[in-house]
Symmetry: C2
Subunit: 263 residues, 2 copies
């Protein structure tokens, strides 16, 4: 009997935002998550319950018989735990991490089968995301391992790509701008609106349209606002309004200059 790819026994190392969303998506597609490891018992148990898996907070207790180990830890924790993760696993085990910023070769010399399984998206435990549109970037130690990882990613998403560690590093840097820094702009606006007793949700149509616009126009073409021509009058007024928050004022000025100079 041919086994289907969903029979692959998977262990999740990590139970954070990305691990939680990815494990749930795999579980819903019929994959067998056999175990979840996290240093925090509550996180391990919570995710394990959601995907009908065992859980542990002890690396030495991690199931050695899985086929795929998906490591989704903060970069610093990964470096620290790497030795414990690879120890005692079988030759045929495939070890992958999910980080945009970590090169594949961190695995080199530790295990024979390894790779990277990077879904480029912003994940929060509180929110379900639709995996179909998420780009997955795959890299592996062999063509077979890459094909296997791509087959798994393809059950979740329509956008599965090869990317080497250099490309992934570049994508991750760009993603910090499009996602993390963008969200911070929302957060600064929310702070301002709170100060003025205005509701944040009046901004949502503007946020949505700003995002939709760059589906059609290049971001540079889509740019609007006083910074394009560095309108001294409007910008001066805004800087005065921010006088009680010098850090935000400085950011406003630098961002306006950046828009003006790159236009």
């Amino acid at each position: 009997m041919k086994r289907s790819i969903e029979d692959t026994p998977i262990v999740l190392i990590g139970a954070g935002n990305l691990a939680t969303n990815l494990a749930k998506a795999l579980y819903r597609k019929g994959f067998r998550i056999v175990q979840v490891y996290s240093r925090t018992e509550e996180s391990a148990r919570e995710l394990a319950q959601k995907v009908e898996a065992e859980y542990t907070t002890d690396l030495a207790e991690v199931n050695p018989y899985a086929k795929l180990y998906i490591v989704s830890l903060k970069d610093s924790a990964f470096a620290e735990l790497l030795q414990g993760i690879v120890e005692g696993k079988r030759e045929e085990a495939l070890m992958v991490h999910t980080a945009g910023s970590i090169p594949m070769n961190v695995w080199e010399g530790h295990v024979p089968h390894y790779g990277v399984f990077y879904p480029m998206q912003t994940f929060s435990k509180q929110r379900e995301v639709d995996f179909k549109e998420i780009p997955f970037f795959i890299e592996a130690s062999s063509t077979e391992d890459a094909a296997f990882l791509k087959a798994i990613a393809s059950t979740l998403s329509n956008r599965v790509y090869d990317a080497d560690s250099e490309q992934r590093k570049s994508l991750h840097l760009a993603a910090v701008f499009t996602c993390n820094f963008t969200n911070h702009m929302y957060a600064l606006a929310a702070e301002l609106l709170k100060k003025y007793n205005l509701p944040f949700d009046v901004m949502l149509p503007l946020i949505d349209e700003t995002a939709r616009k760059v589906h059609e126009l290049e971001p540079k073409t889509a740019q609007t606002g006083p910074a394009i021509r560095y309108d001294e009058n409007v910008i001066g007024n805004h800087l005065r309004m921010l006088a009680d928050d010098p850090a935000m004022q400085r950011l406003y000025e630098l961002l306006s200059r950046s828009i003006h100079e790159r236009q």
Copy 2:
């Protein structure tokens, strides 16, 4: 016979991004745009054709019999042209501007009926927007004029609010963050991806999800990425990648610190 509000003869002063989108939306709702003024003949003619109006590049030729004059100019041009705009118009004419940043009282002493008609959105000529969700903020010199402006805005949008000049100024400042600066983050990412020969459109799912997320979560809760805990390792790598562009590098660092400090 009771005249419907759509019979209001409207003159557009300005033919830029906002004027173009607003005039087209009003025209589609059946309003009579009688004339378009712009200092640039091409802009005036182009918009006039779209909304079956006359056009002029001479303020002295602006139709004096309209009921509503919608002034949608850059802030600096508005100050310069104000005298010419009000000159020779009838007592009953209602003059409004569409700028978030200009207080209503610029009209004071110039005309008896005036106000502000501010649709808070990012407009580009190349892109049609759906007006139904755009918040309109209205202010006027009298309750009657405000009611009239709200009636017009309500034909376009489901979100029509009163806002005084102080509130509008605050909204406009917050909008610069949520829209102009956000779009600049997309533009910086596009620049990076171009440098690395990667396509911008792989970022679209991330851009969309980042925007959708804040419909459900507060921006601070939605924040992800290396800056939250100021991950020295990832941030250090990114700063090194930006070494050839010190301005972008400086922005990256300030934005990361801002996220970290406000978390």
